[in-house]
Every structure is written in structure tokens, then in C-alpha cells.
């Protein structure tokens, strides 16, 4: 199993677009925050004094990016290239005869998720570091009571919520890539699913009076609410309550975890199954 992983790493380390979609996070954060600090220093602005808890919360804010549309679009683009690139370059013919198909797909998941997690973790670390530097540079007092343990806990919990989102995005994008055999098609499908999922989460309460049974059923079944609920539970320690015309809606975090996990596992299992039976023409 290590050999196909090593092969995946070797090929994608040399592919600029793919590599760029990993390192965009730490590099982007560094550039944007450095610019923001420079502007604040130039203007002589001093930030507000914060409590230790809010400072730690702010420092872990970076993990909202993989939960947001932009983060998921870019993660989807990365996964689309990793999985569908082989069809575009016509290179499955080169490697499929030499390895069991499931190990090739497993290697892609390991490398795609590993690199995305690396990119986001480095981005979060840079975000934390630059927040601290910003306070130093602008003379904003850094609250006492910030400990490495508290910071790690905040990042860990926010990172777990982000991981659920990354896994789900990777799952439906990879299936789209294998089914369509096209990077562009996989990317478009990934964008559409991400967008619809988010739109439905926000607009479902408006549609509920028109089709109450259907909307409630979809809200329970589709992963949009559950991702947000998991994030709320992990980072804020409470369930997400959504106001519907018929009344407040909430579900237990355990149920949300089970539904997100089920979606992810089913989509990943389908990816393996489709690829195992697929003709490489």
C-alpha cells in the first residue's frame, strides 16, 4: 500500500495546479494577514483587548474556511484533479495493470486527504502565528491565560468539524470524477452539490410551508444541516437550532455524526465499486 501512496505523492508533487491547491491555504493566509498587519501598523490602529477565551476562538477561526463554500470549492477542485486527472492524461492504462484497483483508489484518498489536511493545518498554524504577531505589532495586549493546551483543544475541535466537511466533499467529488471521467465535470458537479447543499440549508425554512413533509425529510436526510450541527457542537458545545415556521428544528449531534458518516462511507464505497467494475477504454 505504501508504494501506490508514494507514487501518488511523486506525481502530484510535480503537478503545479494540484500542489497549488494544497499550499494555497498557508501561503494565502500568510499573504493576506501580513498585508492586513502592515495596513494596521501603517494606520497606527490598535486592536481591542480580548479575553483569553475569545482570543483562542479567534485564533481557531481559520477552520471555518473548509466549512465554507470557498474552502469546499477549492478542496473539491483538488480532489477532482487527483481522481479524474488520470482519465484526462489517459494514464490509468499505465498503472491499472500493475496494482489492484482498490489500492490505487485508496492511495488517492490517502494522498488527497493527507495533503488537504496538511494544507489546512499549516494554514491554521500560520493564522494563529500571524494573529499573535499582529497583536505584537499593533501593541494590542495579549490576554493572559492562553495556554498551549487550550489552543490545541480549540484547533483540534474546529479541525474535526472541518475534517467532516473535507471528507464529505472529497467523497462526492471523487465519485463524480470516477463516474464522469472528467476533471471539469467533477469540478462542476462538486461546485453544484456544495452550493445546493448550502442553499438548501438556508432556504429550507422558507419552503417548509409549501411542502412541509418533503422539506423536513430532506433537511433530516441531507448532510448540510448535520455538518453545521457537528461544527456547532464541536466548537460551541451546543446543538444547532434552526427556526422553521412550524417550530425550532434540531437533532442530536450523535445523529448528525452518523448521517454525515453514512453519506461519506456510502459515497466512498460507491467510488471503489464503480472503479472496480469500470472499463478503461
Amino acid at each position: 500500500m505504501l508504494n501506490p501512496i508514494s507514487a501518488e505523492l511523486l506525481k502530484f508533487r510535480r503537478h503545479r495546479a494540484t500542489w497549488g491547491l494544497v499550499w494555497i491555504w498557508p501561503i494565502g493566509v500568510t499573504l493576506i494577514l501580513s498585508l492586513a498587519i502592515a495596513i494596521q501598523v501603517a494606520k497606527g490602529e490598535v486592536g481591542h483587548a480580548a479575553t483569553a477565551a475569545s482570543w483562542i476562538d479567534d485564533a481557531a477561526d481559520f477552520w471555518n474556511i473548509p466549512l465554507d463554500a470557498l474552502g469546499r470549492y477549492l478542496a473539491g477542485a483538488f480532489v477532482a484533479i487527483v481522481f479524474a486527472g488520470e482519465y484526462g492524461w489517459n494514464t490509468w492504462k499505465l498503472i491499472v495493470p500493475h496494482r489492484a484497483r482498490h489500492s490505487l483508489i485508496a492511495a488517492k484518498y490517502v494522498v488527497a486527504l493527507g495533503l488537504l489536511i496538511c494544507g489546512f493545518t499549516l494554514g491554521a498554524a500560520m493564522f494563529n502565528l500571524l494573529n499573535w504577531l499582529k497583536d505584537l505589532a499593533t501593541g494590542t495586549p495579549i490576554p493572559t491565560g492562553i495556554t498551549a493546551g487550550a489552543l490545541l483543544k480549540a484547533h483540534g475541535l474546529a479541525g474535526l468539524a472541518a475534517l467532516a466537511s473535507i471528507l464529505l466533499t472529497a467523497a462526492y467529488t471523487s465519485l463524480a470524477a470516477i463516474l464522469t471521467r472528467s476533471t471539469i465535470a467533477a469540478l462542476v458537479i462538486s461546485l453544484v452539490i456544495t452550493t445546493l447543499e448550502r442553499l438548501f440549508r438556508f432556504f429550507a425554512p422558507m419552503f417548509e410551508p409549501h411542502a412541509p413533509g418533503l422539506v423536513a425529510g430532506l433537511y433530516r436526510l441531507l448532510p448540510g444541516y448535520h455538518l453545521a450541527n457537528l461544527s456547532e457542537w464541536l466548537t460551541e458545545g451546543r446543538v444547532l437550532v434552526v427556526s422553521f415556521p412550524s417550530g425550532p428544528f434540531s437533532m442530536a449531534p450523535g445523529t448528525s455524526l452518523a448521517i454525515v458518516a453514512a453519506w461519506t462511507l456510502v459515497l466512498v464505497a460507491l467510488t471503489f465499486r464503480v472503479f472496480r467494475r469500470q472499463d478503461i477504454n
Binding site: N3, R14, K93, L94, R277, N281
Partner: protein, 316 residues
């Protein structure tokens, strides 16, 4: 010409066998039978040619052979074992399909490194192979800058990377110049003759097949229409007999009621197959004509190929 002898004769256990292999695309109504009941057996050390016009089913057969597409029916056996049950047998096979598709953003060398890592070995052979296929100087250039011929040669290096026992080459001389074709021909021959490898190659260049292969199968419309040694195929498909007899006029008179006869100097060309040679001889002897020689005239492979794959006019 030093063509190796047929080592895939009746006594040799086939290292590669296709049994009633079929592939159907689509569903009932709109289905296409790309390959229909193909059965062939290739012996160890043999160079086996797979000939057919475009769309005959060559590439589909080769893709089934290397596990890229699943057969609709039939069986692929490698080294006497069922490929469907043991896909890992393909680790003992090297293949070049579609002119060698590679990662365009990687150098030739890096492509081979990726491949070596994928199948877990062969990295130590990369330099020697690049040298062997004449790409040592261009090994660090990106593949997207390679010519078709260079990609083809890299494809051959890739096919040999895991030191396979069976080498499957789909149109290996495509895109090569004359010198490259000559080199490829020598390489293929040396793979079998010097290194004991079994080579299964498809080509539309009949002269290449004739010069390199021990045996050939001709496939048309998804079916093998003839399988034979190259010499046997040419003999079987001989369509005329050259007759040296005296007096030649009397010989022509004796034969012409039965077969079309053309005088060719002091000899006759009789339009008759090899199977009819005894009957021709009998006619001449019965007419008390001195028969000096009776030789089937060999068609070239191209004529045989065209005869076997020609479209029959549809019935009115």
C-alpha cells in the same frame, strides 16, 4: 533473416491463452459485439502477432488481456492460471497500449519512477532501459515535449520496467521513423530470442509482423479468422501454382479445361489453391506430360490479410 523458430508449438504449455473471449458493449437492441469468441494460445518465448483492420477488436482484446476492461464472456489465462481469479498475475506482464500514455508534467524518468513505485519494483532498471530505448539524453525533459516516437519508446521502456515474462505491445512502431522501426524490430526479436520473453504484439504494419512474428492471428469483426505460423498462413493462402512441364503447350491444354491457366515463359501459372496441387499433377501425368516442378505461389501477407478481412458484398 534470423527469425526465431516457433517455440509455441503444440508441446509448449501456453503462457497466455484466451478462451472464447467476448466483449459486448451496450445493452440489447443497441449492443455491439466488439470481440466474439476469440481463442488463441501463445507459448513461452514466442513472438505472436495480432493483426486486423481498424475496429476489428484488436485493442479491445488487448485491454481485456491486461485487465483494463472486463470480458463479457470467456477467459484470459496467464501462465496457466485464470486472470480473473488472480489479477496479480499481471505483475508478470508488461504492456504498451495507446502509444504509451504518460503524465505530461513529469519527465520521462519521473514517469518511470512513478510506474516503478506503483508496481513496487524496477527503479534500478530505469537508467538501463532509458539507454536501451535511446532516451537517456532526454530523460529529464518533460514528456509533453516528447515527440510521438519518443513517447512510444518510453512506452516500451515502461513495458519492460518490471522485467516481465510476457510483453504486450499495441502498435509498437506507431510514430517511429525508419531507423526507429528497425531498432524496435531488433528489440522485439531480442526480447524473445535472447531474453526468453513472450511477446504479443498488434500491428497494422504487415511487413513488421511478417519479419518479427513466429505466429499470427488475424482478427476481423471481432473474430479470429485465421491463426497460423506466418509461413503456414502464406502457404495456406497460396492461390496459384507454378507448373514447369514439357511440352508446355500440351500441359496448358490438359489443365485449361479445369483451371484458369496463364503461360509465363516456359512455365504455367495455374489459378488453384495448394490443396489442388495433387489433382493438377494427376491431370498432367494422365496426359503423359513431363512434370518438372509444381510449386504453390506464396501470396504476401498483405494479400492474405486483405483476402481474409475483405468486406463481402451484401446480398441483394
Amino acid at each position: 533473416m534470423n527469425i526465431s523458430v516457433n517455440k509455441g508449438g503444440d508441446n509448449a504449455a501456453p503462457v497466455l491463452a484466451l478462451t472464447d473471449l467476448s466483449k459486448t458493449y451496450g445493452r440489447r437492441g443497441g449492443s455491439v459485439n466488439a470481440v466474439r469468441g476469440v481463442s488463441i494460445a501463445v507459448g513461452a518465448g514466442e513472438v505472436y502477432g495480432f493483426l486486423g483492420p481498424n475496429g476489428a477488436g484488436k485493442s479491445t482484446t488487448i485491454r481485456m488481456l491486461i485487465g483494463l476492461i472486463a470480458p463479457s464472456a470467456g477467459r484470459v489465462s496467464l501462465f496457466g492460471r485464470d486472470l480473473a481469479a488472480e489479477p496479480s498475475l499481471l505483475r508478470r506482464v508488461g504492456s504498451l497500449v495507446d502509444g504509451g500514455a504518460f503524465y505530461p508534467f513529469l519527465s520521462g524518468r519521473r514517469n518511470l519512477e512513478v510506474l516503478a513505485k506503483t508496481h513496487g519494483g524496477g527503479a534500478e532498471r530505469i537508467d538501463a532501459l532509458l539507454d536501451q530505448v535511446g532516451l537517456a539524453r532526454d530523460a529529464r525533459r518533460k514528456v509533453k515535449a516528447y515527440s510521438t516516437g519518443m513517447r512510444q519508446r518510453l512506452g516500451v521502456a515502461a513495458a519492460l520496467l518490471n522485467d516481465p515474462e510476457i510483453v504486450i505491445l499495441d502498435e509498437p512502431v506507431n510514430g517511429l521513423d525508419v531507423a526507429g522501426i528497425q531498432e524496435m524490430r531488433e528489440l522485439i526479436r531480442s526480447l524473445a530470442a535472447d531474453r526468453g520473453k513472450t511477446v504479443f504484439l498488434s500491428s497494422h504494419l504487415l511487413s513488421e509482423v511478417q519479419q518479427v512474428c513466429d505466429r499470427v492471428a488475424i482478427i476481423n469483426k471481432g473474430q479470429v479468422v485465421r491463426e497460423s505460423t506466418v509461413a503456414g498462413l502464406l502457404d495456406q493462402e497460396a492461390t496459384s501454382l507454378r507448373v514447369e512441364a514439357a511440352p508446355v503447350e500440351a500441359a496448358a491444354a490438359a489443365l485449361s479445361p479445369h483451371w484458369p491457366v496463364v503461360r509465363d515463359g516456359t512455365a504455367l501459372t495455374v489459378t488453384a489453391g495448394r490443396a489442388e496441387a495433387p489433382a493438377v499433377a494427376r491431370r498432367l501425368i494422365e496426359a503423359e506430360i513431363a512434370l518438372f516442378s509444381l510449386t504453390p505461389v506464396q501470396a504476401n501477407l498483405e494479400e492474405v490479410f486483405l483476402a481474409l478481412t475483405r468486406e463481402e458484398p451484401a446480398d441483394a
